[in-house]
């Protein structure tokens, strides 16, 4: 069953065509990759999918619902969560608070019950906290709950960001270059982490990645874009042999 469908997506930035007529779909329980040279428009696609940009043309259908006109927080409430290329955790808040805030869309209490500390408010706050702690425990980072993310090693910050994205219970997880800036040992660890997340949680993962090792070992399907156009899509082996892809990455040998 189709989870996310992108139809004729075009994004213009005052004349510059960042994404043009992109067609893509992601099925339920699928781990898909999106690759392409620098500046190909990969992150732009993610920014549109998470509601940060409104597309110039075309539409995005998520679980049968058109995302047009929705604000990012509404999109995330529908079940699309994401991480960022450069880690964007809230640095002055504890790891636990980072996870708590990401559950904002289903707080289940109003300002009135907040100020009067009604039983409903106290119950919901306890539940939210419990859920966050559970998640931290599953990922074995509960010992860092009170730590500021800035004090953690880079690889750990990546992990926290993925946990934060998962805490909103997404159906689709967008990972924007999760391996960027990681050492090779950390990359191996990341691959098993993503694999594990995919097995444990009922969701689809769509990832942008430059390191072929990560994409090739994880993704069942890969889309390649260059200059905002989808130039190839298929299984990792198909992609590796596609002349279009080789041309995009290595250039044309007929100068």
């Amino acid at each position: 069953m189709t989870l996310l469908q992108i139809k004729d997506l075009t994004q213009l930035f005052s004349g510059l065509c960042a994404v043009s007529e992109l067609n893509l779909s992601i099925e339920k329980r699928e781990l898909v990759g999106l690759i392409g040279p620098n500046g190909a428009g990969k992150t732009t696609v993610f920014n549109i999918a998470s509601g940060f940009y409104q597309p110039s043309h075309g539409e995005i259908i998520f679980q049968g619902r058109n995302l047009a006109g929705l604000k990012p927080h509404q999109v995330s409430a529908l079940g699309i969560a994401r991480t960022f290329q450069n880690i964007r955790l809230w640095k002055e808040m504890s790891v636990l608070d980072n996870i708590l805030v990401a559950q904002h869309f289903h707080l289940g209490y109003g300002l009135g019950s907040l100020f009067f500390r009604t039983p409903r408010y106290l119950k919901r706050e306890r539940e939210i906290r419990l859920k966050a702690m559970e998640l931290l425990e599953i990922f074995k980072i509960d010992k860092f709950a009170e730590e500021k993310p800035g004090n953690l090693p880079y690889g750990m910050q990546r992990k926290v960001e993925i946990v934060r994205a998962l805490s909103s219970g997404p159906k689709l997880l967008l990972l924007d270059e999760p391996a960027a800036g990681l050492q090779s040992t950390d990359v191996t660890e990341l691959i098993s982490l993503i694999e594990w997340v995919f097995e444990q949680f009922d969701l689809s993962i769509w990832m942008i990645e430059h390191q072929m090792k990560v994409v090739m070992s994880l993704c069942s399907r890969i889309g390649v874009i260059d200059f905002g156009r989808l130039i190839a899509s298929g299984t990792p082996t198909e992609i590796q042999q596609s002349p279009e892809v080789i041309k995009a990455y290595l250039g044309d040998d007929q100068l």
Partner: protein, 337 residues
């Protein structure tokens, strides 16, 4: 024990203050300084919510204080006293003691609504631009008051002392100490509860990375509006208390200088720290009074002191920490939520 230590401490403090005032151990001058301290605590903690916790730069806090001061003054004078402007009291003056807190709250609500009006168009901008818009809003509010002749215009508005007298007919106690104290505790409690909830933590998230907050399901626009309204509403309550403490309001006393005083208290105490704002409000009020003999030189001495403090401690007295972060042992003795 932990749960009751703060309420007990507050009740003891209140009864001591009221007792001292009632037996005339402390004279009216010292009472007024204590009242100003309480009012300034409301001003600084409420501004801290926007400037410290949310990281926006609001420079027009005095505008909201003015709205609260005028709305509650006009209401209380019209309702409970005989005045030249409004004629006979609309309600029996005996009700003044009960009606006063309601009047204050209405002043606060009016200020919160004004805050909403300012925030709606201006929260598309940030930083310097928001600062300029809030300064403009401050001046718009003052000019509006100056041009309403019914409430005194540039001459100011008075008659609030008679409201206090009406309350004293009910019971001969130092009413203003009671009200300032109660509303100070209430507003600190509101801010504390707001900021310690998951909802309020969204405010911190907005300061640290607004884009990430929006994408991680925080409704940033709504939270910014709500926070700004809480801040301006509490400023309005501070204004109402200020007006009834002095018994006279003048649009001039809510100009940019007043806004600057509020900003100074926030930065002196430390951005985002509630206890810092409280300490700074007390220190700043004392400083203003102690240096009063210097007269005009006061306005050289105080900025100089501030420059020195900022040179040696740019993060303010408390930084962004609370009292219980600096002395973790205190946590055993009190809980304030």
């Amino acid at each position: 024990m932990k749960r009751f230590s703060v309420p007990i401490l507050l009740v003891v403090l209140l009864t001591t203050l009221m007792g001292l005032a009632w037996f005339e151990v402390i004279d009216l001058y010292i009472q007024t300084i204590i009242l100003f301290m309480g009012i300034n605590i409301i001003t600084s903690t409420s501004l801290n919510l926007v400037n410290g916790n949310m990281g926006e730069f609001s420079c027009g806090h005095a505008g909201f204080i003015a709205v609260g001061a005028y709305v509650s003054s006009v209401l209380s004078v019209a309702l409970f006293t005989k005045s030249r402007t409004f004629g006979a009291p609309l309600l029996p003056p005996e009700l003044a003691a009960y009606g006063f807190p309601l009047v204050l709250i209405i002043g606060g609500l009016a200020a919160a609504l004004t805050g909403l009006l300012v925030a709606l168009p201006s929260f598309r901008t940030r930083d310097d631009y928001l600062a300029i818009i809030t300064i403009a809003a401050n001046y718009i509010i003052i000019s509006t008051i100056i041009n309403i002749d019914k409430i005194g215009g540039a001459r100011g508005f008075m008659g609030m002392k008679r409201v206090i007298f009406a309350m004293e007919k009910c019971a001969e106690i130092p009413w203003m100490i009671l009200w300032v104290f109660l509303f100070m505790v209430l507003s600190v409690l509101i801010i504390r509860r707001y900021m310690s909830s998951t909802y309020g933590k969204g405010v911190e998230a907005i300061r640290q990375d607004e884009v990430a907050a929006e994408i991680m399901s925080v409704n940033t626009n709504r939270i910014k509006l709500v926070t700004f309204m809480i801040s301006s509403g509490l400023a309005g309550i501070a204004g109402g208390l200020y007006a009834h403490t002095i018994g006279y309001v003048n649009p001039k006393s809510f100009d940019l200088l007043k806004s600057t005083e509020a900003l100074v208290m926030v930065y002196l105490g430390g951005m985002g720290s509630i206890s810092g704002s409280i300490i700074a409000a007390v220190v700043f009020t004392l400083m203003l009074e102690l240096l009063r003999p210097l007269q005009i030189i006061k306005w050289v001495a105080i900025p100089l002191l501030l420059i020195i403090i900022m040179q040696f401690r740019p993060e303010g007295i408390m930084g962004n920490r609370e009292l219980s972060d600096i002395f973790p042992r205190l946590k055993k003795f009190y809980k304030f939520k």
